[in-house]
């Protein structure tokens, strides 16, 4: 037993491996990405016999792990919450089918959202799919719940969800870790049972009744579970106000009560689905009013059938969008206390808040790194097509191309190609014949761009597709894709070139080019566009090929081009708006732009960013008579 600092995601990884998971799969996505990385680390550290995989998509990840479970092994799959949307198809089906070895799904929710397209609640998908949920409030709880979820899943033979949120995944807590022996389940392999594993609709109905019975049994267990407990609540006493809370919101509301100096009974729900309704009803019966606090949506609250004395998101007491911050919960609690006729401590003024707001400090948005190949590709694309083109985009680092106005849409993974197809088809009715240039990354393309590409070629859609291939899944931490020749554990893997896939999809114009070579890249884009407009032409694909500089700077280091801004710079800021390299910095007096040597990587790409010629190779700058860069 030792006390260690554990990142929430590492606590989950440790819990899964200690409980004997032998197959763990995932697709990268904030805030979940460290889970698989943690599993691989613990595999090495504890000398475990397990298989860890970065799968091509969350659906693939889910299904690979599911087969392991059907073979009798304990298995788990991790993803971000929107990734659960991709894995939802197999999840709904698997709930009916059931499992053999314990099978845990770990979708990580993102209240806010801080880095996602939605702040949807995975517990609600579980509710619809009829999958039980464990909802940890801290990394320490996540560690314990990982094992509990696997055990429940195996005993009742159905998939179970462990649902952490950002403030668990990316929190670091001192946790008492039991260096226990790893549990192993004897697994004999897949046993045929067609009425279950290949169930046709008539058998699906039978399985559905079975699933409902499992849930009822699990709810009965949850009613007695120590994971659902009350605090500051004496049996038999009646209180004007009580709070039911789950997940991080429980911790936040508990702290808010402490800070307000108020004691209110709390019921913590660690298993929000199926809700332990008897437990909840007993608590509500002791309270005049009850406030339900949970995030990012209402799940506990929705399962309470008699809500006459219940407040929460549904009656607007708790905001229905955005993270539940201490300030928000403190205000909710004050309103509820007031409404119940209880005294509310006066709220302290925060004079600094108003003052700082009035200073209007410019928000600092994230930007592409100095030297990013995506910037070069998008800059050249904008240079050629300008603002009068439609740029359906996708999800990855290149999404930051919105700063360059080089991305017009993102919806979900792979949508760049499908939206481009849709815009093309729509143009026959709208008469909007602007060029369409779709942008997608290599990992995103392999995740869910291939089917859209097949569809586009087959239906004769005409546009330019720019695949931004930086050889990795960059935004989430450089995880490998099927186009890499190595896998999650760093071992050799079969490499599938994207060029081959594109050609196999029937594309008749496919070229690869280095986005650093602006002139030739621009000619190629022009040629591609012409092909897409020519009578005998069609969809054209260009693969912008250059590794991510954060993870492989060797091409730049092999050919450094230090630059300088000449004395003639007039501070027009064109380079800052159109190129936006973080190493180009406007002087505080706004008179001119300088190079920030601390972060400039000498890629020389910005030379073309000044159409007036004021950014030059350093040697050239020094050679200019009298001019000091």
């Amino acid at each position: 037993m030792s006390v260690q600092l554990l990142l929430g995601n590492d606590a989950i990884a440790l819990g899964l491996t200690q409980a004997g998971c032998q197959v763990v799969t995932a697709y990268p996505g904030t805030p979940s990405s460290e889970i698989l990385a943690g599993v691989i680390r613990y595999k090495k550290k504890l000398g475990l016999d397990l298989y860890a995989e970065w799968s091509a998509s969350e659906k693939v990840a889910f299904e690979v792990a599911l087969a392991a479970s059907l073979s009798g092994l304990r298995a788990a799959t991790a993803m971000k919450q929107v990734g659960l949307n991709v894995a939802a198809d197999p999840m709904f089906s698997a709930a009916y089918m059931g499992v053999v070895g314990g099978f845990v799904i770990v979708p990580c929710d993102d209240p806010g959202p801080m880095s996602s397209q939605t702040e949807q609640d995975s517990r609600l998908l579980a509710l619809t799919a009829k999958v039980p949920v464990f909802d940890p409030a801290t990394p320490a709880e996540a560690l314990g719940m990982a094992g509990a979820a696997l055990e429940l899943s195996e005993r009742h033979r159905l998939p179970v969800m462990l649902r952490p949120t950002t403030r668990v995944c990316h929190a670091v807590q001192s946790v008492a870790v039991d260096n226990q022996k790893v549990v192993r389940r004897p697994a004999a392999g897949f046993k045929k049972d067609p009425q279950r594993w290949a169930a046709t609709p008539v058998f699906r109905l039978k399985l559905h009744h079975e699933l409902n019975a499992k849930l009822a049994a699990i709810e009965a267990e949850f009613n007695e579970s120590p994971l659902n407990f009350s605090v500051d609540c004496e049996g038999g006493r009646h209180y004007p106000l009580g709070v039911i809370a789950g997940g991080v919101a429980y911790q936040t509301v508990r702290q808010a009560l402490t800070d307000l100096g108020v004691s209110v009974p709390l019921l913590k729900i660690g298993t929000p689905f199926p809700l332990p309704r008897r437990r909840v009803a007993e608590f509500i019966a002791q309270c005049g009013r009850v406030l339900v606090v949970e995030e990012p949506d209402a799940c506990i609250e929705l399962q309470i059938s008699d809500r006459t004395r219940v407040s929460g998101r549904l009656d607007g007491m708790v905001p229905s969008a955005g993270e539940l911050t201490p300030e928000i919960l403190s205000a909710c609690l004050s309103r509820c206390l007031s409404a119940c006729g209880l005294s509310v401590p006066p709220s302290e003024d925060l004079p600094l808040d108003g003052l700082v707001q009035s200073l209007k400090i410019a928000p600092r948005r994230p930007r592409l790194c100095p030297g990013c190949s995506h910037r070069s590709a998008m800059y050249t694309m904008k240079h050629l097509f300008g603002p009068n083109a439609i740029y359906p985009g996708d999800i990855g680092c290149y999404s930051l191309g919105t700063n360059l106005r080089a991305i017009d849409t993102f919806v979900d993974m792979g949508a760049a190609i499908t939206l481009a197809t849709g815009f093309y088809q729509a143009a026959r009715f709208t008469g909007d014949h602007r060029p369409i240039v779709a942008l997608i990354g290599d990992s995103t393309f392999l995740h869910s761009g291939i089917t859209p590409l097949l569809n586009a070629v087959h239906t004769g859609a005409r546009f330019v597709l720019l695949i931004l291939d930086n050889h990795t899944t960059a935004m989430t931490g450089a995880q490998p894709t099927p186009a890499n020749d190595f896998n999650a554990e760093g071992d050799l893997a079969a490499r599938i070139p994207i060029l081959d896939i594109v050609r196999a999809c029937g594309v008749r114009f496919t070229r690869m080019a280095d986005p650093y070579e602006h002139e030739s890249f621009e000619s190629l884009l022009k040629e591609a566009h012409a092909f897409s407009q020519a009578p005998e032409g069609g969809l054209a694909v260009i693969i912008a090929d250059r590794p991510c500089i954060l993870y492989d700077r060797s091409p730049v280091e092999a050919n450094p081009i230090p630059v300088a801004v000449t004395a003639e710079c007039d501070g027009c800021r064109y380079c800052l708006e159109a190129f936006e390299c973080p190493a180009l910095v406007l002087r505080p007096d706004r008179s001119r732009v300088d190079i920030d040597a601390r972060i400039c990587i000498d890629c020389g790409q910005c030379i073309d960013a000044c159409y007036k010629g004021f950014i030059v190779p350093k040697d050239a700058a020094l050679a200019l008579s009298g001019a000091r860069p």
Binding site: P31, H170, A171, S330, E348, L352, P366
Partner: protein, 180 residues
């Protein structure tokens, strides 16, 4: 040994997360319960980054505005942006070569909030460690008494965290900030 609530603010790439790790480790080494909260994802792409560190105290990951004992700002602008977290009587340690912000002086004085600035970029540059501004500010904060931790305790945390090859440079940056 007291409970402390700390807010660390900076720009993605400056090493806010490493400072968070050092503080968490320091808390662990002296047996305090630790709860820290990081912002990942866009961090390395130059956006605003902020983390909360609680040594001792509850398991709540977030810190309410007006309750933090100290704010460590690796970037002055981010420091100002997060100022409202600091409690009455709290402290601010910020990386700046030209003071803080005069428009805030009266309000800060009224709240008895002390602001200490250090030209961490300058010190880091002088010591040949451009990438270690974060630890310079941390060393400075300890030396100012803004943290309930000594420079030695932070040094032990740095040694415990590793990696071994980075420890000497990291310790040097910490000491430079502490004015040694």
């Amino acid at each position: 040994m007291k409970d402390s609530k700390l807010v660390i603010a900076g720009i993605g790439g400056q090493g806010v997360i490493f400072v968070t790790k050092v503080l968490a480790q320091a808390g662990l080494l002296r047996g305090q319960p630790v709860m820290a909260s990081e912002n990942h994802g866009m961090s390395q792409r130059g956006g605003s980054v902020m983390s909360y560190v609680k040594l001792g105290g509850s398991e709540a990951p977030l810190i309410q505005r007006g309750t933090a004992d100290a704010l460590i700002a690796l970037d002055k602008g981010e420091g100002i942006r997060n100022l409202a977290y600091v409690r009455r009587g709290g402290q601010v340690c910020a990386n700046s070569s030209d003071g803080f912000d005069d428009r805030l002086a009266a309000c800060l004085a009224e709240l008895s909030i002390q602001v200490h600035t250090v030209d961490a970029d300058g010190l880091a540059r002088a010591a040949g460690m451009l990438a270690s501004t974060n630890l310079v500010v941390l060393g400075f904060a300890a030396a100012c008494g803004a943290l309930d931790l000594t420079v030695e305790q932070l040094g032990e945390a740095i040694e415990a965290l590793g990696p071994a090859r980075s420890v000497p440079v990291n310790l040097k940056a910490l000491e430079a900030g502490a004015g040694r």
